[in-house]
Symmetry: D2
Subunit: 135 residues, 4 copies
């Protein structure tokens, strides 16, 4: 029952920076999504395939704490960690630092019910629990 | 067979401005979409209802000419003009100026085939031609 | 020492909706920003002018709870309420409902230190406290 | 005086897809920017460093032709080619295909004057011409 983790690096895009010269405050939620997607892919299934099998993980709650600047073209390192705080709920904790000097940029988390295509919460199927190491 | 036109005003959002202090270069395409939507609404039908009736106007081509700065919170005035260069094609020409002094911000155009839900070009139904003043 | 509140209505843009047919999860943070901006404007000063006077309110923390769908072109009603939980800190609480039937879409909050242009926290100047009804 | 070219691959993000299940029409302009940035980096200088040296390449004109769908998580291949149609003007031509089967997604171009920090067109300095293979 250990936590599952994934780390990736990416550069801040020009379009993601505002007139203060640092990332606009909604960007972390887009970055967090990439972290979730790549974590799930690292387990052996794409989130897209999960959707095609009828399982969705919509965002129920999101929290961001802004810790430091990140400028255009800065290389960032994002670590995403998955836990299951309930039987039908998934949580991703995310930390984003600058890759060169490790200075913190932001951290946060999102919570997701496991649902069917109509958005109704369901008990996770066995294949999903096994994928997430809870089988 | 006159052109149909619509003008609206809006303010530049913080999230739309980049570190040069002016609107990021993909924003005009989002603004153009609002102009199209409000022009169609002014004719008496929402674009959403048009989609629900099975008629789509996907973007086939888009062009933007960048003419001047627009900063955060600037009030802009956008005029959208609809023409039908072909039997099954719609074109929207757009000009965006600063509302206070009329200085040009950008202009451009988009071209759209009339399609069904699957994206296949179709002959526009009579109700659409009448809506667009071509009935 | 009452709370300051502001309500505005807006339509969900096509560009704000994802393939699930509802608003993408980072959009509320952009909407929240518009709520803050218009609340401050309703007090008699634009946020832009505040920045020009050397006072910034960067986002320190943000939280969103997703409560229901909002589709393209839906008319939403957003209420923003300002409080000062500390001497040099501003908090905005936001609720967003569908304007027609009042069904909840999302709510959340953001917390902002009062800083100078360099991002350093400062004691709010008297004019700011008066603007916020704390003078 | 040969053209300079650069190719990169990237995946379509969830946030980039609209309710039609394909990329929203302003996304190509964001993708084009990444292509320009990585082409310039491949020449041995970051665009950021170019800005720090006082040389900007603001977008003057942009054109996109939409050729096919690209869905969430699709792997795309973007090729960017730089030419100098005038002494103080740079043009980037871009083609984007699906990486797996080569089906076209979109192509387009952008035109950029060479300017100083204030946005005034200038003669490109020698180091820039050398970087661009025009020295």
């Amino acid at each position: 029952m250990t936590a599952l983790s994934h780390t990736l690096q990416f550069r801040v895009r020009y379009s993601e920076v505002d007139q203060m010269g640092t990332y606009y405050n909604s960007r972390p939620l887009e970055w967090f999504e990439r972290g979730r997607v790549e974590l799930v892919r690292s387990l052996g299934m794409s989130y897209r395939e999960m959707e095609q099998r009828g399982i969705l993980l919509p965002v129920r709650e999101a929290y961001v704490r802004f810790l430091g600047r990140a400028e255009y073209d800065d290389l960032l390192r994002m670590t995403t960690t998955l836990t299951m705080p309930g039987r039908a709920q998934v949580r991703f904790d995310v930390t984003i630092d600058r890759a060169d000097d490790g200075r913190p940029v932001c951290h946060g988390w999102t919570v997701h019910p496991v649902t069917d295509r109509s958005g109704r919460p369901i008990r996770p199927p066995r294949w999903l629990l096994e994928l997430l190491g809870r089988g």
